[in-house]
Symmetry: C2
Subunit: 221 residues, 2 copies
DNA sequence: TTAAACAGGTGTAAAATTACACCCCTCATC
DNA sequence: GATGAGGGGTGTAATTTTACACCTGTTTAA
């Protein structure tokens, strides 16, 4: 099986062959159905969850009430920022689509961090980058109006799926929660995008017709 | 001289005496006047800046145009998240009040991280916590209306200064930029708070009369 | 010493966003 | 096959926030 390593980091490559074998030899794949809770807020960190396929939503609670924190795509370690701070998850993770998650032993991972300085330095680099992305996501959304925020969200799907046509694994209400606007704002902006010929949409199936225009809206509103 | 170590972290305590002496023996204090740029966006990370006294504003650019990222108080390493990701500062830091900054040698710090696993594990814990605080700041602000956001900002000053009367080192426009609302919204909410007897304010001198009420507004709007 | 420039402040108009009402359609379920 | 829940969709009203206009007083620089 081909394992998808953490996106944008070479930390796993810093491990010696035997270390890598040890780490992934004990790892197992868990399957989650769309809608299932992958990580519950408040639970202790027992393992690291490396997302292989699917999309996951991070949120402050599992009640779907408040704005969600971020979306995670394949190659990301779910809640990595909590693993070495409070050792308890400070937010919940819910599968938006069917997901495969690689479960990595936390104790073993920690032991490798302690014994292999090249690995730990690369891991420091990795979590620094993850958190910059996290901050970036939030800055991008708070600076934008509803049209810009929706354009940003659609762009993220294009980037992570690598194609202009995709099934968006969120309802309109969920999209609203992710970008922090109301369901109606999402629907009206989506209608605008359709009228302007920027996107085609039929329910969850979305096609981006004019990506550069979408990028413009995502930057300038 | 008494050095203020990173807030909420024991990472410096993980160093042996001779390591600590080496790290701080070469360190020097730099003074910044209110308004001065401490770190310019895009510049390479040469040293670590440990804020000793004063308040610093992190922003995406130094033009004062967009919303600022966060405020830093004493005991925080300015831009620590950039030190081990891009190795270039991704945002600017400006002194809001007169500041004293302890300049720590980056190469030396990195060498200690590589040679002392206890130190590097504790540092991983530290940057994880810093980034959680960062995220927390943003969540708190984006979830709130203008009154809640202003209440949150005032609460942060109470917490970090440890007293109910203080000189806020920001103009009303700067306060607006920090919480992401307009100058008029800040002024009107501040006027409301005065009328309700929650705060007293005379220019930059602010006294919190009803802290628990302020907390309520900061949570429920 | 005089005029900008800037900070604090407030009322009102304009814009954006949300909330409400209601529509259609589909898909379970009784 | 009726029913009702849930999703997508849209117009309108209410609310929130911003933008504009304008006033005061203080500081700064010509």
């Amino acid at each position: 099986m081909e394992i998808i390593y953490p996106t944008g980091s070479s930390c796993i490559e810093q491990l010696k062959h035997e270390e890598k074998d040890e780490l992934f030899g004990s790892a197992q794949i868990l399957d989650f159905k769309a809608g299932e809770v992958v990580i519950r807020k408040g639970s202790p960190v027992h393992d690291l969850y490396l997302l292989q396929t699917g999309t996951v939503e991070l949120a402050l609670d599992d009640t779907n009430s408040r704005q969600s924190l971020m979306l995670l795509f394949s190659g990301e370690i779910i809640g990595v920022n909590c693993a070495y701070s409070t050792m308890h998850y400070r937010f919940s993770a819910r599968a938006l689509s069917d997901c495969q998650v690689l479960i990595i032993n936390y104790q073993l991972f920690t032991r490798l961090l302690e014994s292999n300085p090249r690995f730990s330095m690369s891991f420091i680099q990795y979590i620094s980058m993850v958190n910059e992305n996290f901050l970036n996501w939030h800055m991008k959304l708070t600076e934008r109006n509803s049209a810009g925020a929706l354009a940003f969200l659609l762009s993220e799907f294009v980037k992570n799926y690598g194609q202009n046509t995709f099934e968006i694994p969120l309802t309109r209400s969920e999209m609203a929660r992710v970008i922090g606007f109301s369901k109606e704002s999402v629907l009206k902006n989506l209608a605008d995008f359709r009228k302007q010929g920027i996107v085609e949409s039929d329910g969850k199936k979305i096609t981006i017709l004019d990506y550069s225009r979408l990028q413009d809206i995502s930057v300038y509103g």
